[in-house]
């Protein structure tokens, strides 16, 4: 993700920011022309864009009080309290401290942060936006919630080792605008590469928890969560190449679109973050995403129907007819936006079968958003279908209607039955 710098070779100035951001002077308490109230409101918006609440809030807990456990391949991390409590939060921090933390990935006392905090993306946030975020967080009610110690295994519990990781994968610095691109693209780049930290999931990470330029946004399995973050590139098989801007915008803001709905970890992102985007920011993110170049991605599959034994296809067709066709229709075209199409849907066809298997196992409601206030839910089938039945029906939807997916086995289904449903 850090890597994406390559595409933004030219570094940015202020004009990447929207008018309301770049036309202002620094906030008054910091010596600028925006009232404190306006700055706090802008900071609240930016905190939503950054989805700070997702990691800094326990399920059912007080917002921003921390304590959320994040299992990683290296052990479990616990997010800190970021309310302005002087003992456990950021009550004694200054705006400089906050900017330095976001920008350098070092704590106020100087130690290296674990990159579960997406500082490789947040380093691109402007000083002005960092100050607004800090003003917002400082305006919250202080919560006297102590922080939970991380439970990382040796040697990962030694933060000094992050020196090496940072040398390999972290490039500090604000994003500079690309003057060859328009303001919409640049604003989209700033949001996607910075607070949005989309690459944290949509760029594959390696065994060291780092990522490389040539994989940027090409998708990857999210460790521990066992969901596959799909490619966002222009790759036609897997990516957003043929998605109209409107559908990307709809998906980001409402969680549903004519092309498909969000599910798994992306439902959280839309619910807590992206639904709050202004129309112009959602549009600009879509503009930028649509410009991402195709990467060295998994080769497109040849139509799989010929590889699948007729008995399995027939079994899959039978399950589909009994359980799926009433909503997704026999033709697989669905009833969008509420019942997504399965025919020609990259989520169904892509090389990794993890997501379609998990959708059938776990079902899901799209996130409730202002644009989709009463979502239609898909039932989980783990409770009523066998591994063989699910393998058959997922194989069927991956190869029917001219879809280009490959068959799946009941072993793959069985392995995903125990996948974590929530962190």
């Amino acid at each position: 993700m850090i890597t994406f710098r390559a595409t933004c070779a030219i570094l940015l100035g202020i004009f990447a920011l929207p008018q309301w951001a770049w036309s202002q002077q620094p906030a008054p308490f910091l010596g600028s022309g925006q009232s404190l109230e306006e700055t706090i409101r802008r900071g609240e918006y930016l905190a939503r864009v950054g989805d700070c609440i997702a990691c800094h809030t326990q399920r059912g807990g007080e917002p921003f009080a921390g304590g959320f456990s994040l299992p990683t391949p290296f052990g479990t991390l616990y997010s800190p309290n970021i309310t302005p409590d002087p003992d456990f939060g950021i009550g004694n921090w200054t705006a400089d401290d906050f900017y330095n933390m976001l920008h350098t990935g070092r704590s106020r006392s100087g130690y290296f942060l674990y990159p579960a905090m997406p500082f490789p993306a947040y380093t691109r946030v402007t000083r002005s936006d960092s100050d607004a975020l800090f003003a917002f967080l400082s305006s919250l009610r202080p919560l006297h919630e102590s922080n939970h110690l991380n439970e990382l295994r040796f040697p990962y519990n030694n933060r000094a080792l992050l020196f090496g990781w940072r040398a390999l994968y972290f490039r500090e610095g604000e994003l500079k605008p690309d003057p060859s691109r328009g303001p919409q693209w640049n604003r989209g780049a700033y949001l996607v590469e910075g607070l949005g930290h989309c690459g944290t999931c949509h760029t594959a990470i390696n065994a060291l928890g780092g990522s490389s330029d040539d994989k940027a946004y090409a998708g990857g399995l999210i460790p521990m969560q066992n969901w596959y973050a799909p490619s966002l590139t222009t790759n036609k098989e897997a990516g957003l190449g043929e998605w109209p801007l409107q559908d990307i915008r709809d998906l980001l803001k409402t969680g549903i679109s004519a092309k498909g709905a969000v599910y798994g970890p992306m439902a959280e992102v839309v619910h807590n973050s992206l639904q709050y985007l202004t129309d112009s920011d959602a549009h600009d993110m879509a503009v930028y995403l649509k410009s991402l170049p195709a990467r060295n991605e998994s080769p497109s599959n040849t139509p799989g129907a010929s590889n699948v034994p007729a008995t399995q296809l027939n079994a899959g067709h039978a399950v589909y007819t009994a359980q799926c066709a009433s909503c997704h229709l026999k033709s697989g075209v669905g009833q969008p936006p509420h019942y997504p199409p399965l025919a020609g849907n990259p989520s169904i066809e892509m090389a990794s079968a993890v997501n379609p298997i998990r959708m059938v196992l776990n079902g899901g409601f799209p996130p409730q958003t202002a644009g989709n206030p009463r979502p239609y839910g898909m039932p989980p089938f783990a409770q009523i279908l066998s591994d063989d039945e699910i393998a058959a029906v997922v194989t069927y939807i991956r190869v029917a209607w001219g879809n280009h997916g490959q068959p799946v086995t009941s072993i793959e289904v069985n392995q995903l039955r125990t996948a974590a449903l929530l962190d």
Binding site: Q58, R59, G60, A267, E268, V270, H271, N272, C327, L329, V333, Q335, H338, Y339, N362, G363, G364, F365, P366, P367, Q368, P373, R374, P375, Y376, G377, M378, P379, P380, F381, A382, Q383, I384, A420, L421, L422
Partner: protein, 223 residues
């Protein structure tokens, strides 16, 4: 649903889902039945006709982690209270006959012990009679106390065990936790067996609020 079918394709385009709560909550159908009436699975309860406040509380409890069943926690994670209220309103108003009572494989002594606990409680262990909170005919009390009839014995005993272990909680004061920790495993088996073998009363409606004083203060009655 019948109404929609009656209107037919002229009113509802073929490629548009019905604009109904029934269609929206089909995500619940595989476990709870197409109308929330329950299924043959011992561990998934009927939800149709339960008190609205009770259903709302459970939806919140699953979303916010006071109840632990990952498939439910996952389904409800990104939905809000206003939609939960719509769901609770829908399911509480579905009136369908209960499934036949379980035949039961428990001994007469176990059933008698269960009946005694339901009707008289166990004062020595500070366990009130079930009927003192769940209504004289055990069909629940509005707005937040559920009925105990029409459920599978395994479901009831699993829930009592969850209250004991803390994987099922409610807003404070969590009276069912206080009661469940006093119950012995034999008592749980007995009470679940007796409840599941009772036929549905003539009216399965929850009793109205405010007519009974419950022996313990319960957070679930103040949603």
């Amino acid at each position: 649903m019948l109404l929609l079918v009656g209107i037919g394709p002229a009113a509802v385009p073929a490629d548009t889902p019905p604009d109904t709560m029934e269609a929206r909550v089909q995500g619940c159908a595989t476990c709870h039945g197409t109308q929330g009436q329950g299924t043959h699975d011992d561990y998934f309860p009927r939800i149709a006709g339960k008190p609205q406040g009770y259903i709302l509380n459970q939806l919140r409890n699953f979303r916010d982690g006071r109840r632990t069943y990952p498939p439910m926690n996952y389904l409800l994670a990104y939905l809000n209270d206003d939609y939960f209220s719509d769901m609770a309103h829908y399911f509480s108003n579905v009136q369908l006959p209960f499934a036949p009572a379980e035949k039961g494989t428990h001994s007469a002594d176990q059933l008698a012990a269960g009946a005694a606990l339901v009707k008289n409680g166990d004062p020595a262990h500070k366990i009130p009679p079930c009927s003192s909170c769940h209504g004289p005919s055990l069909t629940g009390i509005q707005p937040g106390i559920p009925g105990l009839i029409g459920l599978h014995s395994r479901y009831i005993s699993a829930q009592l065990e969850s209250w004991r272990s803390g994987t099922r909680r409610a807003n404070a004061p969590d009276c069912m936790h206080d009661i469940a920790v006093q119950l012995s495993p034999a008592q749980i088996t007995a009470v679940a067996a007796w409840l599941a073998t009772q036929p549905a009363p003539s009216s399965t409606q929850p009793a109205p609020a405010g007519q009974w004083q419950t022996p313990l203060p319960c957070g679930s009655q103040t949603p």
